[in-house]
Symmetry: C2
Subunit: 307 residues, 2 copies
């Protein structure tokens, strides 16, 4: 197969050039290209694209500015893709880290200054054989399933439609989310923040978990009733909480979550800037391979819907 000619702009990028090559493309100038990978915002984007360019890959998940600037409307014959989903993997890895750290009692071991083996013999748990609920099995939640099964956990997933999530033992529709709570040992919250999901996890739900259960939230703080969570952590009704997002956020100094020994707070940094370029490069490689094979592209923008 002849490599697909792909241009990269506005400036050369060895990381993206490698990704294009990995996806089966070769890097060329814009006037020779069938596709353009654009690694910046709207400023400096070509006023018009050569007729040979059929696809443009943008570098962010949100593309409001591209609609606002009229760039997409000016090129009705071009397929546009965003970076939506490209950054799921690092958030997923963060969720796994928080859950493992909690279940294996890392917070107290990290702060220990003496060899407390007998105590930790009784406190280090395992995800092996545990059942983890994933509340909101979208991009992040779905990517978490193979990581959890790799360590021997089983998964009960909840998504809007109940469409089976690959690798999950059970998938429940959101309307039956209530059934999840009695089946699981731990829960990872990865649902979008909407009016319907506010305080999705409150006192009644936490009350159905056990004293070794960990609650991980990598979605939005508003999904959890913070006061109920603090109470459950204080009482030992649950094992602990690993939170990359909080309500309120930023978490104010002096908030009880800062001092509770069974709460891990990371300051909404599960998707740090430094890890975005390689994640975007992987997304580019995947889409170049799909473009070359004539397959549907990932994260295609719908010009009519505006995202």
């Amino acid at each position: 197969m002849t490599p697909v000619p792909v241009a990269i702009g506005p400036v050369d990028s060895p990381l993206l050039a490698e990704a294009v090559t990995r996806g089966g493309g070769h890097v060329t100038s814009l006037d020779q290209a069938h596709a353009l990978v654009w690694d910046a915002g709207t400023e400096g984007f070509p006023a018009s694209l050569p007729a040979s360019v059929h696809w443009v890959q943008l570098f962010s998940a949100g593309v409001e500015e591209w609609f606002a600037a009229g760039v997409i409307a000016r090129h009705p014959d071009v397929v546009w893709t965003s970076a939506a989903g490209a950054f799921s993997a690092t958030v997923t890895e963060h969720a796994l880290t928080l859950l493992l750290a909690g279940v294996r009692s890392l917070p107290d071991q990290i702060t220990a200054t003496t060899w407390r083996q007998q105590e930790f013999f009784g406190r280090v748990g395992t995800l092996r054989g545990a059942c983890v609920g994933i509340l909101g099995a979208g991009g992040i939640g779905r990517a978490l399933v193979p990581m959890l099964t790799a360590v021997g956990a089983t998964v009960v997933a909840v998504n809007r439609s109940g469409t089976p999530v690959p690798g999950a033992e059970v998938t429940l529709p959101a309307s039956r989310a209530d059934e999840m709570w009695d089946r699981i040992d731990h829960v990872v919250i990865a649902a979008p923040a909407t009016a319907d999901t506010r305080h999705l996890v409150g006192a009644p739900e936490l009350g159905r978990l056990g004293p070794a259960s960990w609650v991980v939230n990598v979605a939005r703080g508003s999904l959890v009733d913070t006061d109920a969570l603090v109470a459950a952590l204080r009482d030992g009704a649950i094992g602990g909480a690993g939170l990359d997002v909080t309500d309120p956020e930023p978490l104010p100094d002096g908030h009880p979550l800062w001092s509770l020994p069974n709460a891990i707070v990371t300051p909404h940094c599960s998707n740090p800037p430094a890890v975005r370029p390689p994640a975007f490069a992987d997304h580019v490689a995947t889409n170049v391979a799909r473009f070359a094979a004539g397959e549907p592209l990932i994260a295609r923008i719908d010009p009519a819907a505006g995202y």
Copy 2:
């Protein structure tokens, strides 16, 4: 297929009964059994086994007491298996936990009491796209490979023979372990402690890692030159160390590893007593299935070799 009749002793165990059933056996009394799962030490073991019993599964990895008591010699026609390898998974999970916690900067986030997002944006890393060296790819090291690849890392494995480890990008024989150091971002030590492996990781090896590299040891403290490690941690020559084992062990109060912010010490508790029964049950299920299918059993004891 008729279920294989398996006895469990010295007392009933619902966990093991479930494992026998899961493996395709059915639980019966000893006089009816073709196999015996023995969940205790030598004391109380039947003075003689019915001729129908062809296989005995013991409950520990080390079986010195069984040889010492003459039990194995008394039953030359029986196949004996130990629990060797059954407890690898929890040690492997611990190694993954330490590595993820380090790479994602959990120690400093756990001790933080204010929202330091900008700082952690620059410090939270990812295993995705990273290359992890596994020094000693035996049961634990091999089990770690699918966990690492599930989060998007690649693996360079080192084992005695260089026999390719499934899932590793490269496997090197121990004689070429030196080549590993320039290829990897992080290292997990899982090799046995022998005269040859003492201080396998010292100043020269640590010097070939980088300031974001984590060193995880779940094997034995003697494999690492502690003084060289402390120096590398103090200088920031490496990112950090996650140690379930130390030299000396127990780590004495006041040792620098207790206070270095980039060292995580867990007190040799990667395989805590509470997680052993379910791990042993999985081992039993696997071996019952193999026995039923006439396949070679896992962790078969060699009466001549004495282990």
